[in-house]
């Protein structure tokens, strides 16, 4: 018997005319690992929420069709009643954590579903150990990195021993090694998993079945090898790497970092004696694991941080695109937000919005935009300033492969105008854009926690 059964599901959010999912039908058997792929806004998250009962109970809207979990119709029970059978991990861990310390946080769900008191703490500790963060049990959540916090959220879900585990882009904040480990742990415990991901290459390695969605419809539903063939023929950006760029002759130095050291507190230096040069026409990628100092270097180069020692020399204007596009919502209109960096010039703002495909959204409130549209808005807000140094911090987080290729193409096309520094975990994107890749590694001197800088030649 199928663990989950969806029959002709069509759903529209309140106030939306276009359905988020249309006529979706599928059955999920116990033990399957189902990968949902598709561009931003295609309905992946909505389908996951329907399986959790959050659609329609939490979100409202117009719902037709049927969703059954373990034989029960989700319309007949609340999402809270499904907890324990179904467990969900969403994209942003900050929006999931309730309590202030790790162990009580993981115990929260167990208490809610009525687990016998004496079993709560042992199950919580076991779940934390299973995802590799058992040592964090007594830590305050405010001290955890994004990757650690996401693992705690996974532990919270696994502690419930669910029959069905729903993961909505759970690795977006993790570096490649962390993401692979996360997916492997989520899958190896034998739970049925439905997983939404933008970085298809690593998720395909653990999936048994793939659904590709677009415009709310399921275009393909096949075992993973057949799905790879389908993707190669119909959506090659999802399975093939972009071509490596040609080498360019870099121009003048736009930013020079000489002997820079920086620490947020004296006991934990982040950067030590860093030298880095960024030249016009060149795209440099900073790569490395979470916590190695990449974002700090990016902010030093852009002038948002001042070094404790050393010098940062810049020629011209610098602009920095932050990791979180949700930071670009300070105005009531998209065009006003973009125009902020250029003294309110709406004409230029409109032109830049058009260049990123948001011409028809210029009058919308930034919070009314979808996640993919917010990412493009953030990019427009930075590009409109026509900087001499463009710094992008994880610009492909949560971005689908087609959008990544567009961004890579744009960066390459505009590279001669400026020096570009990209901080990214995304190896595929790095390959597509970089003239030079600079790799950060954890220092061997663990007491001082130094990040040693090694330079890798772009292959």
């Amino acid at each position: 018997m199928a663990l989950a059964h969806v029959e002709q599901l069509t759903f529209s959010y309140p106030g939306q005319d276009v359905p988020a999912v249309r006529d979706v039908s599928l059955s999920i058997d116990p033990g399957e690992v189902v990968l949902l792929l598709g561009p931003s806004g295609c309905g992946k998250s909505t389908l996951l929420r329907a399986l959790a009962g959050l659609v329609p109970h939490f979100h409202g809207g117009r719902f037709s069709g049927r969703v059954e979990i373990a034989g029960g119709d989700t319309r007949a029970c609340r999402p809270a009643d499904l907890a324990g059978t179904v467990a969900s991990v969403f994209q942003d861990p900050e929006d999931q954590v309730v309590l202030t310390r790790v162990l009580p946080e993981v115990s929260f769900g167990l208490e809610n579903v009525g687990v016998p008191p004496r079993q709560i703490v042992p199950r919580a500790l076991c779940a934390l150990a299973d995802v590799g963060v058992g040592q964090l049990a007594e830590r305050p959540v405010a001290e955890l990195s994004g990757g650690e916090l996401q693992r705690v959220c996974l532990a919270s879900a696994l502690a419930l021993e669910p029959e069905l585990l729903l993961l909505d882009e759970p690795t977006s904040q993790l570096d490649p090694d962390g993401a692979e480990g996360f997916l492997e742990r989520a899958v190896e415990l034998g739970t049925t998993v439905v997983l939404s991901e933008q970085r298809a290459e690593r998720a395909l390695a653990v999936a048994t079945r793939v659904l590709f969605m677009e415009g709310g419809l399921v275009l393909a539903d096949a075992p993973v090898e057949e799905a790879r063939d389908w993707l190669s023929r119909n959506r090659p950006a999802w399975v093939t790497a972009a071509e490596a760029p040609r080498t360019v002759e870099p121009g003048e130095a736009v930013c020079a970092v000489h002997g820079v050291s920086f620490a947020f507190d004296r006991e934990h230096p982040v950067v030590e004696e860093l030298d880095l040069e960024l030249r016009r026409g060149e795209i440099v990628v900073l790569a490395g694991p979470n916590g190695s100092g990449k974002t700090t270097v990016a902010k030093l180069a852009a002038g948002l941080l001042r070094p404790d020692r050393g010098v940062v020399e810049r020629r011209g204007r610098a602009a920095l695109l932050l990791q979180d596009p949700g930071r670009y919502v300070t105005r009531d209109r998209a065009d006003a937000e973009v125009a902020l960096g250029i003294g309110g010039d709406r004409a230029r703002a409109h032109a830049t919005l058009a260049s990123v495909g948001l011409a028809d959204k210029s009058g919308r409130h930034p919070r009314d935009l979808s996640s993919g549209e917010r990412e493009r808005l953030a990019l427009a807000a930075v590009l409109v300033t026509e900087p001499d140094l463009l710094v992008l911090d994880e610009p492909t987080r949560g971005v689908d492969p087609d959008r990544k290729r567009e961004l890579a193409g744009r960066l390459r096309a505009e590279a001669p105008q400026r020096a570009t520094l990209v901080v990214t975990h995304d190896r595929t994107f790095a390959t597509a854009v970089a003239d030079r890749i600079v790799t950060f590694e954890e220092g061997t001197d663990t007491e001082r926690g130094l990040s040693l800088l090694t330079v890798g030649a772009h292959a």
Partner: protein, 232 residues
């Protein structure tokens, strides 16, 4: 120490400060609470201490000009329409110090609650009004998140060459910050529902037994209230 006795101790300090009649007593309570707050990490404690300090100093400065008590003027100023003769008497200064110390004691007790009390244990101990306790615990947990959101908004502007200086420019960030908090609140509510919150039959992690420190704290809390009412 269990969170319940710790909270009782802080509440009793506030109660004693409000019942006490001598400035020195209230000031002593405030100083003890300040010493407690100084145990918190520096990066987290400074907004609470600065807020409490500024409020108390402001009250101390303003009180003599709005009160009219005493007959020993230390300073006589001009006559201001509506307000009248501005003067500062010794009695008004004593009253100002008393009220400012009270305000400081209340502010520091709240700071100690926010900075040092384990809200997870407090929630676990709450037998009644659990939802209210959870709401307060959530609000406290999300304060660092709100700080990061505010810093992120400022960074997004500085990253485009827009400096955020002055009261007006900073005030313009309040609205998007609040909107972001609402959005985050909705997402959190969704996650809580998905984790079974609100379902009947809730259980609780077994609580540890009462330690000696917990008993001493409770007795001290009761004694402090009595002292405040009778002698301080």
């Amino acid at each position: 120490m269990r969170s319940g006795p710790a909270l009782a101790l802080l509440a009793s300090a506030v109660t004693a400060a409000l019942l006490a009649r001598h400035t020195v007593s209230v000031a002593a309570i405030a100083l003890v609470l300040l010493a407690v707050c100084l145990r918190a990490p520096r990066a987290r404690r400074w907004p609470y201490l600065v807020g409490t300090g500024v409020s108390a100093v402001a009250l101390f400065v303003i009180t003599p000009f709005v009160e009219t008590i005493g007959s020993h003027p230390l300073w006589t100023g001009p006559i201001v329409p509506v307000i009248g003769q501005l003067d500062v008497t010794r009695e008004e200064l004593v009253s100002a110090a008393f009220n400012a110390s009270r305000l400081a004691a209340v502010g520091l007790a709240f700071a100690a609650y926010a900075l040092l009390v384990d809200h997870d244990k407090l929630l676990s101990a709450a037998g009644i009004a659990r939802r209210s306790v959870l709401a307060v615990a959530l609000a406290t947990r999300l304060v660092p998140t709100l700080e990061r959101d505010a810093a992120g908004l400022v960074e997004s502007l500085r990253g485009r060459g827009v400096e955020v200086e002055g009261v007006r420019r900073r005030a313009a960030l309040v609205s998007p910050l609040l909107a972001g908090s609402l959005e985050r609140g909705l997402n959190l509510a969704e996650a809580m529902e998905a984790r079974g919150y609100g379902r009947g039959g809730r259980t609780r992690v077994p609580r540890p037994g009462w330690a000696t420190a917990d008993r001493i704290a409770l007795v001290t809390a009761v004694a402090l209230v009595v002292l405040g009412a009778l002698w301080l």
